[in-house]
Symmetry: C2
Subunit: 351 residues, 2 copies
DNA sequence: AAAGGCCGTGCAATCGATTGCAAAACCGCT
DNA sequence: AGCGGTTTTGCAATCGATTGCACGGCCTTT
C-alpha cells in the first residue's frame, strides 16, 4: 500500500506537460509548442484549442525549474540596497517590482548595510542563484565586483549613482539641480549666510550635492564659506546632529542650513533644539529626498523631492530592455527633482 | 567558426559536476556524493579530498535549477506584506531575511495593497514559482486561499494575525497587553476621560486592540464611553484625522486619546492642530507600533513598541522548523510589547 | 585457499521542459 | 493516382544534478 510520501504528504505532484499530452492524445512536445506563444503557430488550430482546454481544465502550470534548467533563465532579478529600513528605499523597490512583475520577473532583495564584504557575499549568492540581472541601489563608489560582473556580460542597472569612466546603465537624479532648487529657495527668502551639511564624499550623491551647493551659491553671487560646510561621515541623523552642533559652536554665524539629505536635516532639528533655537524662526533648514513622514515632523520639512518610485520603475524598465535586447549601449537617465516647500524655512530674523 | 552565442556572449556556461568528475577521474555521482554532506561518508577520504580540491579550483557551483528540478525544493520563501512603504514592515522583513539567509533560503517579497484580488494573484504566482514556504504579514481575516494552501500541506507562518478556529503557526504581539500599557500610562498621569481611535475590525489587530482598550479601562475602574470610541476605516493618517475631528466636534469631552496605531495617532495630531489644540498640554495622545521616525515628530510620540525585527526573525525560524520537520503541530508565539514614553503625553490640564 | 560480507564506486533512470530533426500527413497539381 | 512540396506531429537528446541498484574489490573467517 504505497503511501504518497511522508506523513505530511508532499502536495500531490503537480500536473505536467506529459499529463496534458496524455489527456489530449498528443505528444508532450506538441503541448509545449501550443503553450509557447512563439511556437503556437506550428500547430493546427483545432489541436491547439484542445490542448489549451485540457491544460486549463487540469490546471497545468509549467515547472519553473525544468524551464530554467533548459533555458538558463531564472526570471529572477537581484536588487541590492544598503538598508531597507531607510525610508527612501521602499518606494524605489515598489517601482522596481511593479515593472518587473509585468515582465514576469521577480525581485529578490538584499541589504548590504554598506559593508563591502557583505555586498560581495550577496552578489555571489545572487549569481549562484542565477539571477537574470541586477539592480544596485547601493551608494558605494568602489566597484571591482560590479565591473567583473559587467565584463561577464551581466545585465545591470545602477540607481542613484554611476561608475565614472565605465559606461553603465544608470538612473540618477539631478543632484546638482536639486541643490540649486534648495539654495535658490532660501536665497529668495532673504538668507545670505547659508551652511551645508555635506554627505560622505565616498558616495556620489554626497559629492555631487556638495558640488551643487557650491555652484548654486556662486550663481546667487554668494561666496560659500568653507567654515560653513560640515562634512558628515554617514547619511544618518546622529551625524547631522553632530555636524550642526559643531557649526553652532563655531564663530561663523548663519541663518539657514541646506542639508544633503533628510536624515541629516532631522539630526539638525535636534541640534537646534539642544541650543533652544527654533526652526524656522531662528534657523531655516532644508532636506533632500522627501522621504516618507518628513511631512509629519515638526516643523514639516522643506525638502527636495526626488521621484523614488519613478526611479525604481525606470531602472527596472532599463533592465528589461537589456534582457530582451542584449548589447544595447549603456545609457544614463536623469530624473528631475522638485522643491517641496513646507514649514522649516522662513525669512531670516529681521530679514 | 562557431561563436559561443550571440553578440553578448552568454557568459561561458558554468562548471558542472561532470567537469569536476572528469578532472578528478571519477564518476559524476561520486562528486555529487562528496559535495553533499549527508552522503560524504560514502566515499573514501582520499578521493573526497581530491574532489573537494578540484571543485574549489574550478570554482564549481551547483546549478540550482537542476537541483530544484530533482528535489522539488526551491529554497525560496514568499513573503507577503500589505505595503512595503508602511514603515513597520521593513524591520519585520529584515528580521525574516536575516534568519532565512542563515538557512540558505531567499525571500521574495510582494505587496498586496490590501486588495484580496491582488493577494490571490500573488499567492498563485508564488506557488507557481514553487516557494518552499510562505510568510504572510497581511492583516486580512478572510482566508479561503490560505486555508487551501495549508490543507495542501504548504508550510506557512502568519505575522501579526491568526486565523480563528484553525490551528496555524503565527507570531503575534500581545495587542491587548499593549493597550493595557497605554491606558495604564495615561490613567497614571491622571486622565479619566479617554478616547480610542479604533482600527478596522476586519483586521485582527484592530479588533484585539479595541478589546484591550475596553478591558484596560474597566481594570482602571473607568467606564469606556462608547461615544469616545471612534472607528477608523483604515490604519491611515487621514482616517485618524477624520475620526478625531469628529470626536472633537462631539459633545463628550476627553483629555487623552489612545490610538490603535501610530498612523492614526499622527492623523490625530493634525486634528488637534486644526482646532488650535496643543499636544500634550491640551490633549495627550498615544500610538501603537513605535514605527521608525515617530520619535522625530513633534511632539515625539508616546507609543507601544512591538519588537518588529524579532517578530520577523521568529516567524522565519518557525518556518524553517516546519521545513525541516514537517507535520509539527502549529504553535502561536506571543511577543511582549513595551511602553515608550515620549513627549505626547502629560497630566491633564489642572490635573 | 575458498566463501561470504561489506564497502566504495559506477551505471543509468529520473525530475519536466525545450528543440533540431525525421517522419508522417496533407495539399494541389498534372 | 502519383508526385513534389508544405505543414503538422512525433522522436529523442539535452539541460545538471540526485539516488537506487548492481558490480567489483578487499577483508575476514573457517
Amino acid at each position: 500500500m504505497a503511501r504518497n510520501a511522508s506523513a505530511t504528504g508532499a502536495p500531490r505532484s503537480r500536473v505536467t506537460l506529459r499529463d496534458v499530452a496524455r489527456r489530449v492524445g498528443v505528444h508532450p512536445s506538441t503541448v509545449s509548442r501550443v503553450l509557447n506563444p512563439r511556437t503556437r503557430g506550428m500547430v493546427t488550430a483545432d489541436i491547439a484549442r484542445r490542448v489549451t482546454d485540457a491544460a486549463g481544465r487540469l490546471g497545468y502550470a509549467p515547472n519553473p525549474f525544468a524551464y530554467s534548467l533548459k533555458t538558463n533563465r531564472s526570471f529572477l532579478v537581484g536588487v541590492l540596497v544598503p538598508d531597507l529600513v531607510n525610508p527612501i528605499f521602499p518606494p524605489i523597490i515598489r517601482g522596481i517590482e511593479s515593472v518587473l512583475d509585468r515582465g514576469g520577473y521577480t525581485a529578490i532583495i538584499a541589504n548590504s548595510d554598506n559593508q563591502p564584504e557583505r555586498e560581495r557575499l550577496i552578489l555571489e549568492k545572487m549569481q549562484a542563484r542565477q539571477v537574470d540581472g541586477l539592480i544596485l541601489a547601493t551608494a558605494h563608489r568602489s566597484d571591482a565586483l560590479v565591473a567583473k560582473y559587467m565584463a561577464a556580460g551581466g545585465p545591470l542597472v545602477l540607481i542613484n549613482r554611476t561608475i565614472e569612466g565605465t559606461p553603465v546603465h544608470a538612473v540618477v537624479n539631478e543632484d546638482r539641480r536639486g541643490m540649486h532648487l534648495a539654495v535658490q529657495h532660501v536665497v529668495a527668502l532673504g538668507h545670505t549666510r547659508i551652511a551645508h551639511l555635506a554627505g560622505p564624499p565616498r558616495f556620489s550623491t554626497g559629492q555631487r550635492r556638495l558640488q551643487g551647493f557650491r555652484e548654486a551659491m556662486r550663481a546667487a553671487r554668494l561666496r560659500p564659506d568653507p567654515r560653513l560646510i560640515a562634512p558628515c561621515a554617514a547619511f544618518a541623523e546622529e551625524e547631522g546632529l553632530r555636524a550642526l552642533r559643531r557649526l553652532l559652536g563655531g564663530r561663523v554665524r548663519f541663518t539657514a542650513v541646506v542639508a544633503a539629505n533628510d536624515r541629516l536635516a532631522l539630526g539638525g532639528y535636534d541640534a537646534l533644539a539642544e541650543r533652544g533655537l527654533r526652526c524656522p524662526e531662528d534657523v531655516s533648514i532644508t532636506g533632500f529626498n522627501d522621504m516618507p513622514l518628513v511631512d509629519k515632523v515638526r516643523p514639516p520639512l522643506t525638502t527636495v523631492r526626488i521621484p523614488l518610485y519613478e526611479m525604481g520603475a525606470r531602472a527596472a524598465r532599463m533592465l528589461l530592455e537589456q534582457l530582451t535586447q542584449p548589447g544595447a549601449t549603456p545609457q544614463s537617465v536623469q530624473l528631475p527633482p522638485t522643491l517641496i516647500v513646507r514649514g522649516s524655512t522662513a525669512p531670516p530674523r529681521g530679514g
